[in-house]
Symmetry: C2
Subunit: 290 residues, 2 copies
């Protein structure tokens, strides 16, 4: 297996990182690959890298940020003039760096807008682990409390709780099925997203939909914070929800029983109080006509 193949399978198997982080990791890998790949011509360099990029695009179909950022990378690489191999390598690396920075800036900016919308002195309930949501908590340190769900499998809520504890944020940690009960102790529900579908639906870790339902029933707002790179043109109907091996939650093996481990669910737009991107609070029209 080549380094590229190994990296693709690492991205496919990753259960640790959110969509933004993975997308940036992919761009970084493309830059490194541009520097190290052995080729004899400009066109060979370009074609091999674009092939690698396209495979990465399809590695995580539920994560639009990967498809989108790598899509922009491919388009920029295709636009580059010929030049010599060494110049082309540098230009390609610079495209990666620029896009990583754009994604990071967009996420920081989205987080700052979300922090402003949440306000100070609030208790925020969240599900799963989103680097953008962590950035929101960082903006609010000293003025926020958290309720964090375990988020099985693989329980990435545990890592979020650890991050919040490092920040000194007072946090209540609950198993997923207590989400409804604790929603009424929160002022705001806030999550990141893996993808914002064309109809405004939010694809995020399974359980997010339940949190949105509980938020509505308890009368608290449900905010989704993500950089706009996570927007997909597909409607939620066309989006593949990744499934993984049910062994991750150790289900019983029984004759007539089939176990499932769908990682994501779809929160329909009518449950979303606001989508917050680097452009601030978005209305459904902004999202769906953009």
């Amino acid at each position: 297996m080549t380094d590229a193949q190994q990296f693709i399978s690492q991205i496919r198997e990753d259960r640790e990182h959110g969509a933004s982080e993975l997308a940036r990791t992919c761009l970084d890998a493309l830059a490194k690959h541009a520097g190290s790949i052995e080729v004899t011509s400009n066109e060979a360099l370009r074609q091999q890298l674009i092939g690698f990029a396209q495979e990465l695009q399809s590695a995580r179909p539920t994560m639009a940020a990967i498809t989108n950022l790598i899509g922009e990378w491919i388009a920029a690489v295709e636009r580059l003039p010929g030049g010599n191999v060494s110049t082309l390598r540098d230009d390609i690396k610079s495209i990666s760096t620029t896009l990583i920075l754009a994604s990071e800036n967009a996420a920081s900016s989205a987080a700052a807008h979300a922090a402003e919308l949440v306000g100070t002195g609030k208790t925020v309930i969240t599900h799963s682990l989103s680097s953008t949501v962590v950035a929101v908590f960082e903006c609010l340190v000293g003025n926020v409390k958290a309720i964090v769900t375990e988020s099985r499998p693989p329980s990435e809520g545990r890592r979020l709780a650890a991050k919040l504890s490092e920040l000194g944020i007072e946090t209540d940690f609950i198993s997923d099925q207590q989400m409804g009960l604790f929603a009424r102790r929160a002022d705001v529900a806030l999550v990141g997203a893996d993808t914002i579908a064309g109809d405004g639906s939010v694809i995020n870790k399974a359980g997010t939909y339940l949190l949105a339902l509980a938020a509505r029933d308890q009368g608290i707002p449900f905010y989704v914070c993500s950089e706009s790179f996570k927007r997909s043109d597909h409607s939620s109907v066309g989006i593949v929800l990744e499934s993984h091996d049910p062994a991750e939650f150790n289900p019983p093996r029984l004759a007539h029983v089939k176990s499932h481990n769908v990682y994501f669910d779809i929160t329909p737009p009518h449950l979303v109080t606001a989508w917050i991107t680097e452009h601030g609070r978005q209305h459904l029209d902004d999202l769906t006509t953009g």
Copy 2:
């Protein structure tokens, strides 16, 4: 520790059985105790047993069936004539037997009504493990499919899946946070109850409220099936929701993080399509005016 004290703490610690089963186990223990307790007078027998019964009543505050059935038992024992000790022992045992049978018949009858309401050829999603819900599946064997949640902690959904597998019922087994996603693959949501509060709210294993929310959003009915012994006069506000040691789900130990393990949640009456008891389908008025 006496046998009685040991039994009370066993009931308090039980995570295996639903409210109906535990209530019947308590009645059975009272009957056995009536036969074995060493006393010198009628009044001593009666008073010691009633004391034991009252302690059992307060062992599981979230389970109205225990409070109610033992309450009926105490009232019946108080009404018994003096007689000699041996006759009194027999009469008390017979009160237990009668109430156990009444509870079993009520549950069976409720299950039969629920099976009729569900109808044949349906996929039923359920949460937690209720002996009454198992009885509904038994009524529908050959004509029903199931979607069963893990129901952590302690994952009693695993035992339900095993029971359904024994019955040959085709079952999908999911972790709790997939509940929203799978609700739309079901035709009906059906749960048991630990208590039906005075306002029609349903107290049941944490996560039940989330299932009810998902059922409403997906446009499928949400049925609650339980014998009427589970009705409480208290409004849901007055009902204590049991908490257990968070160690049961192995939460992280971190400086600013407090973990919670609330076992039950409250599903408000506006989310319940129908309450089904031994008297058939109940309207909210039937329930709340008693």
